[in-house]
């Protein structure tokens, strides 16, 4: 994929967001009383419309650059290879952090952290050595627990189902 293509997709997504935002703002927020009274609706509306205009500009820019690049037949500014996005890693992390959040509420900091580090080490980093995984998870959990809960006095999550520490 080229940068120009990536920008086109990005621009389209932004345009959709801007339209949805503007529609929601008009639909749900009451306007000011008029006569120069700036109500709560004005700023979100201005931002939504600005985003729409900017995304159209981005689309136009991507289109123009794509055309000049194609006409020249050379790898122009818009034709450079786009940077890769690691969708799998990003998606996995989103799931893992959410899981961590749930675990923190249900099992408390100590158990949740132990579990999540094991999951991350095993599946994201593909570590096979059980010793390494155990060392990392127990070590990190204990150090964090000691430093935050005991030394700094920061409240770490307590579980509603089960709780250690």
């Amino acid at each position: 994929m080229t940068t120009q293509r990536q920008n086109t997709i990005f621009g389209l997504i932004l345009l959709i967001i801007a339209c949805a935002w503007t529609w929601l703002v008009i639909d749900t927020i009451p306007p000011g009383f008029g006569d120069g009274d700036i109500g709560p609706r004005a700023f979100p509306l201005i931002f939504g419309v600005s985003l729409g205009v900017l995304s159209i500009l981005l689309l136009v820019q991507a289109y123009l650059r794509g055309r000049t690049g194609a006409a020249g037949g050379q790898a122009g500014a818009g034709q450079e290879v786009a940077s890769t996005i690691h969708w799998v890693a990003a998606g996995a992390l989103l799931v893992e952090i959410s899981l961590y959040g749930v675990l923190l509420e249900k099992c408390g900091f100590v158990i949740a952290t132990l579990l999540i580090i094991v999951v991350v080490m095993r599946f994201n980093l593909n570590v096979r050595s059980i010793k390494k995984i155990a060392l990392m998870s127990v070590g990190t959990t204990l150090i964090c627990w000691a430093v935050f809960e005991k030394i700094l006095g920061i409240y770490l999550a307590n579980g509603t189902w089960i709780n250690l520490g």
Partner: protein, 504 residues
């Protein structure tokens, strides 16, 4: 004078000195690890400061900022990889010095000139914050609106290679911040009836997500090609440069400090731009410009002086006007606000003691930098050998602890994850994330000042164009955007391999 003495009393407690030292150590470690910047360190350190007294808390944050700015030079010199973007210019001559066997003296010089640059900018800052606040104290809502708009357009224009993407990113930040209860009339906006959304997106949660999560994803997805441990590490220590060498380069250090402080004071710039300008300046005016790039000590002195001088510069608009110029100062701003210190023209009237305490904390932080770099350099070298993905696991836990501890709610962890993954995608398609965070910081001010101004004028728009100050700021804002747009059109034909001038 009284407030200065009580500030000394506040800052010279063992607790405060320890807090500053802890911050400096964390900053040095995060700064020296490529990929982990001091912005991440600041975002993760912020929740720790909640329960502290104001002076130690702000001291810890400033120590992290200063330590991080200095720590970037360690990996730049030893590995040839900048620990933070602001140390990128240091690589050019610092790494060749390591190859020539002069690593110790390069590290020592980097520390000393960093301290020089930092203290120089502190002095400039103390004088200018006072001056600027005296001028700005007369500003009404219309002028403040114009000023914030100017600061914001500078940030969007200067912080990335594309003006359009900078503006998009800024508007996204402004949009996120309008979610939640409207500050003036208390009407819920885009909350979808959720109670969690009424408070809006928490700024600190967003900061942790924006800066730490992209690092974790990067570290997890490219784990084989970034092991620094395999590189041969010379047996390093920090060797202080001779007085003669420093004296010979004193004039260069002063000029680079001026460059750094000046650039730092412009919102949206930052350490990377300042250090490259300083490097370029040193090369142009040096008698031995041919040896630049081959291990010339001046090539280490110039960028390292300048990037630390930036720290004082960025605090000028922050303290006197309440406008943070980069993500790091935005986090310091958040820290100040948590402790009830609102930066702006009235800062000295309300919080003189705390401000003097901050100044003292900066000086203490530089003593810590000096001590830690001289004694602890071996520790940093070992930290560099730890695989990046293992650090990312620890950062993951710290993110969750940080996000959770802000309001003790798991909802914040979920929003951090969503914002973080969104930020990663934006970073991957080269959209700068600095304007998002500054949009979130400045958005409420922008809206509230505008609406207050309109209420004052009873709905008349002339409040914005009858004030000369406001008109000047509007003009400057427009000028910045137009100039940036034009220069982008010119650059288009040239190579676009530029350094990303942000520390985010």
């Amino acid at each position: 004078m009284d407030s200065f003495l009580s500030a000394l009393a506040l800052a010279f407690t063992p607790y405060a000195i320890g807090a500053v030292g802890f911050g400096t150590l964390v900053g040095l470690i995060f700064g020296s690890i490529p990929g982990l910047t001091f912005t991440v360190a600041l975002a993760l350190a912020l929740p720790i400061t909640f329960s502290m007294e104001p002076v130690p808390a702000i001291g810890l944050l400033l120590g992290t900022y200063i330590g991080g700015m200095t720590g970037g030079s360690v990996s730049a010199i030893l590995l040839g990889i900048p620990g933070t973007p602001s140390a990128a210019a240091t690589v050019l001559d610092g790494h060749p010095m390591t190859k020539n066997g002069d690593a110790s003296i390069a590290l020592g010089t980097a520390v000393i000139v960093s301290v020089f640059g930092g203290v120089f900018s502190l002095v400039v800052m103390i004088v200018s914050v006072d001056l600027v606040s005296r001028i700005a104290i007369g500003f009404g809502p219309a002028e403040i609106f114009a000023l914030v708009l100017f600061g914001f357009s500078t940030i969007c224009g200067l912080c990335g290679p594309s003006l359009l993407k900078g503006l998009i990113s800024g508007v996204l930040g402004l949009m996120i911040m309008t979610i939640g209860l409207d500050a003036i009339e208390g009407i819920p906006r885009l909350t979808f009836g959720s109670i969690n959304m009424l408070q809006g997106v928490n700024l600190l949660v967003a900061m942790i997500g924006l800066f730490a999560v992209p690092f974790i994803i990067e570290a997890f997805s490219q784990r084989n090609d970034t092991s620094f441990g395999s590189k041969p590490m010379v047996n390093v220590r920090t060797e202080l440069p001779s007085i003669r060498l420093l004296f010979k380069n004193l004039w260069l250090m002063i000029r680079c400090s001026v460059i750094g402080t000046g650039i730092g004071a412009i919102p949206g710039t930052g350490g990377a731009i300042a250090s490259f300008l300083a490097y370029d300046h040193a090369k142009r005016f040096s008698k031995s410009s041919k040896t630049f790039g081959k291990g010339n000590i001046e090539g280490v002195i110039a960028p390292e002086t300048a990037n630390n001088a930036v720290t004082g510069g960025t605090l000028i608009p922050l303290l006197s006007l309440g406008i943070p110029g980069d993500p790091a100062t935005a986090i310091v701003l958040a820290g100040l606000m948590i402790h009830g210190i609102v930066p702006g023209p009235a800062l000295f009237m309300n919080h003189a003691t705390e401000v003097y305490g901050m100044y003292v904390a900066v000086v203490i932080a530089y003593f810590w930098v000096l001590g830690l770099q001289l004694v602890g350099i071996r520790l940093f070298v070992h930290v560099l050998k730890v695989p990046r993905e293992l650090l990312a696991v620890v950062v993951l836990v710290l993110c969750a602890v940080g996000a959770y501890s802000i309001r003790n709610s798991a909802f914040d962890i979920y929003s951090m994850a969503v914002i973080g993954v969104g930020a990663y995608i934006l970073v991957a398609i080269r959209v700068p994330i600095t304007p998002i965070i500054l949009g979130m910081v400045l958005g409420p001010t922008l809206e509230n000042e505008f609406r207050t101004a309109m209420m004052l004028s009873e709905g008349e728009w002339n409040i914005f164009y009858t004030s000369p100050t406001a008109v000047v700021f509007f003009g400057l804002a427009a000028l910045i955007i137009v100039l940036q747009g034009l220069s982008e059109l010119k650059i288009r034909r040239k190579s676009r391999q530029e350094v990303q001038p942000t520390d985010a």
